[in-house]
């Protein structure tokens, strides 16, 4: 990672709802500063109706703290993607509550959800989901276009993000001119360019060979080092091993790992507030 890009991209998101983290234990805003990024209670999602009903997600309660790197594992069809779509506000649950970075999402609609996705979430998909008619740079600029960032600023930050994933020299290439690993790195650059609170990745290495997988995972590792919260879905154990915590899913339920193992756990040291964050206090913030 270059110095240049760290200047341009603040290492951690600073959501309006959560003031800058403080070490002062007496501050009345103390717990608020370390609000979990993800806090769900009883999330349920059912597809279809009648005899063909599929209960893809059943009563999922999950907490992810700021700065965590969490891997979600489980068999195919266990509900991982369904969960990610709900966490990413791409879909709405049939029941349950979801607080994203302190914002209750259950009452939000269409454009409000779009704005939250734009500001707080960065997506990385298995099939890349880049827009094929646009250059790598234009793809990376897109989230900022919807955030009303000025054109010159957009260009500058998009270049910086491409630099972060080592693709500055491919900025003007179309997706059809890039390899799988490069495509996914462009997607990662796009996911982080708006400095979101959360990066969601659904089997990001599922279509990549081992070299490209290593490259992409290295980028995720670096991002987590700078304090970004990452939720990564995978069914490969060695990929999951890069994460600080592993959530196991089966038949639409979380089998293990739904809350951080503890303040001293591997990936959950929140930036600037080591050990201070507690899931119990955070849960109290739910309506």
């Amino acid at each position: 990672m270059t110095n240049d890009s760290t200047e341009v991209l603040p290492p951690v998101s600073e959501p309006a709802s959560a003031p800058a983290p403080t070490t002062n234990g007496d501050s009345p805003h103390y717990w608020n500063a370390d609000l979990p990024v993800i806090e769900t209670r009883g999330l349920t999602r059912t597809y279809g109706g009648g005899e063909s009903t599929v209960r893809a997600l059943v009563d999922v309660s999950l907490t992810v703290g700021p700065g965590e790197f969490v891997a979600i594992m489980g068999h195919s069809g266990s509900g991982k993607s369904t969960l990610m779509n709900l966490l990413g506000l791409l879909d709405v649950p049939d029941a349950g509550a979801y607080l994203l970075d302190g914002v209750d999402t259950s009452s939000l609609r269409g454009d409000e959800l779009a704005q939250i996705r734009n500001r707080k979430i960065g997506f990385v998909f298995q099939s890349f989901n880049l827009i094929t008619s646009m250059s790598a740079l234009a793809n990376v600029e897109l989230p900022m276009a919807y955030a009303d960032v000025k054109r010159s600023e957009r260009r500058r930050r998009a270049f910086a993000a491409l630099g972060l994933v080592g693709l500055t020299n491919r900025a003007s290439h179309r997706p059809s001119e890039l390899s799988g690993g490069q495509l996914q790195r462009v997607a990662v650059a796009r996911a982080l360019v708006n400095t979101p609170a959360l990066i969601l990745a659904d089997e990001p290495t599922g279509n990549l060979d081992s070299t490209a997988t290593a490259e992409v995972l290295d980028v995720f590792g670096e991002l987590n080092q700078t304090g970004r919260t990452i939720v990564l879905i995978t069914h490969e154990a060695d990929v999951a091993a890069r994460a600080g915590r592993i959530i196991q899913m089966s038949d639409g339920r979380i089998v293990s790992g739904s809350v951080p193992a503890g303040a001293t756990g591997m990936g959950i040291a929140p930036v600037g507030a080591a050990g201070a964050w507690s899931p119990t206090t955070a849960l109290g913030a739910l309506p």
């Binding site: 791409l90 454009d111 734009n118 989901n129 646009m134 897109l142």
Partner: protein, 391 residues
């Protein structure tokens, strides 16, 4: 949003070209076909107007029994005077008959018109060669004549006709002049007629009976109707009948134009129907391609929504894209129609009206925007997860 629309048009040039073609053909053919229709009627109107817009024709009507026999005679024509018809500035009596015209070994049948020297100015029949006969020729019933352009050519070919002597129904006539070629749609067979002094034609060919018609010239276009009604009363008085019982017809050029326009309007209606069909076909083409575009790009819409695009941004992009395409196609169609309008179609030069341009542009662009935009609006309203799953 505009650059984004332009980029996606550039990325799918074939599709854009097809859309454009659909609109282009729709708009172009509507404008052109409507143009042919109005071109045809404009031609008829201008031919009739070429006869003079302030002329009035009086012709004998069908006689309904002996009691109401209303004969147009020279006396009747002379009864129309500046006193009883102040808006009439010229009265041109005409007799017409068919006769054999011969020069040397060439002989042909022609319409012989006997009239006064004012005939040439009132019926807008200028001479190409020679001179018209004068009042003195008419008074003296001289055996002189003026030929229509076709008749002169039939008899003399490229040779000069002026001064030659030819035989009309067995009597020798000297050619004074040849008329210019006239438009013939007005019904007059002016190009193959022979015009001679009324007195001479009556004496040699028709006898002193009734006239075929009387052509009147009004002082100006504005007083044509007044002149027509004055003439009607003057003639009725000369015939000693009530004007309400008149069976002779007094026809203004305007009425003649109206009658002829009615004839061409059925042609126009047919062309308009064909035009409407091509507009609909063009519109269906645009719609089809736009529907394909949106379903192909639902995934892109899903990606954009995932990245936080608000509904308006997505809807706006597709609507701008559809408008851009159909407007460009429409403008090219207008240009194409304008270009083709310089070529005669169905024997007529199309006259493009601004109204047809607006109509065609409006309908095509409307179809493009509505049918291109509507599916996009629907896709923009989808849940992002559904749009992303779209293959």
């Amino acid at each position: 949003m505009l650059t984004s629309a332009l980029r996606s048009i550039r990325a799918n040039l074939t599709r854009a070209a097809l859309t454009l073609l659909g609109v282009l053909i729709g708009v172009g053919s509507v404008i052109l076909l409507l143009g042919v229709g109005s071109g045809a009627s404009a031609e008829v109107v201008s031919q009739i107007a070429g006869l003079g817009t302030n002329t009035i024709t009086v012709s004998a009507g069908m006689s309904r029994g002996a009691t109401s026999f209303q004969d147009l005679t020279v006396e009747v024509a002379e009864a129309i005077t500046p006193d009883n018809a102040p808006d009439v500035i010229a009265v041109v009596p005409e007799v017409s008959t068919s006769a054999t015209v011969a020069y040397g070994t060439v002989s042909t049948s022609a319409t012989v018109i006997g009239t006064t020297p004012e005939y040439f100015s009132v019926t807008n029949s200028p001479l190409a060669q020679g001179t018209a006969f004068q009042a003195a020729d008419a008074a003296g019933a001289r055996q002189v004549c003026v030929l229509g352009a076709d008749l002169a050519y039939d008899l003399f070919g490229a040779d000069d006709a002026v001064g030659r002597q030819l035989m009309v129904g067995g009597a020798p006539f000297t050619v004074y002049g040849v008329m210019k070629v006239k438009d013939t749609t007005g019904g007059s067979s002016g190009n193959s007629s022979l015009v001679a002094p009324l007195t001479r034609v009556q004496r040699s060919l028709t006898g002193y009976g009734s006239l075929s018609s009387i052509t009147l010239q009004a002082a100006s276009t504005a007083v044509v109707e007044a002149a027509a009604s004055e003439a009607t009363y003057a003639i009725a008085e000369a015939l000693r009948i009530d004007a309400a019982d008149a069976t002779f017809r007094v026809t203004t050029q305007e009425q003649l134009i109206e009658t002829s326009t009615e004839a061409t309007s059925s042609l126009s209606a047919m062309l308009a129907a064909i035009a409407a069909i091509s507009l609909v076909v063009g519109g269906i083409g645009v719609t089809n391609i736009m529907l394909v575009t949106v379903s192909e790009r639902t995934r892109e819409i899903g990606i954009r929504k995932a990245l936080g695009a608000p509904w308006a941004a997505i809807a706006g992009q597709f609507v701008i894209e559809a408008s851009l395409l159909s407007l460009t196609g429409g403008l090219v169609g207008v240009a194409g129609a304008w270009g083709l309008s310089h070529i005669a179609i169905l024997g007529t030069r199309p006259v493009i009206s601004l109204a047809s341009v607006w109509l065609a542009l409006g309908v095509s662009v409307g179809i493009g925007v509505i049918f291109g935009g509507y599916p996009a609006l629907r896709a923009a309203a989808m849940k992002p997860v559904d749009a992303l799953r779209h293959e």
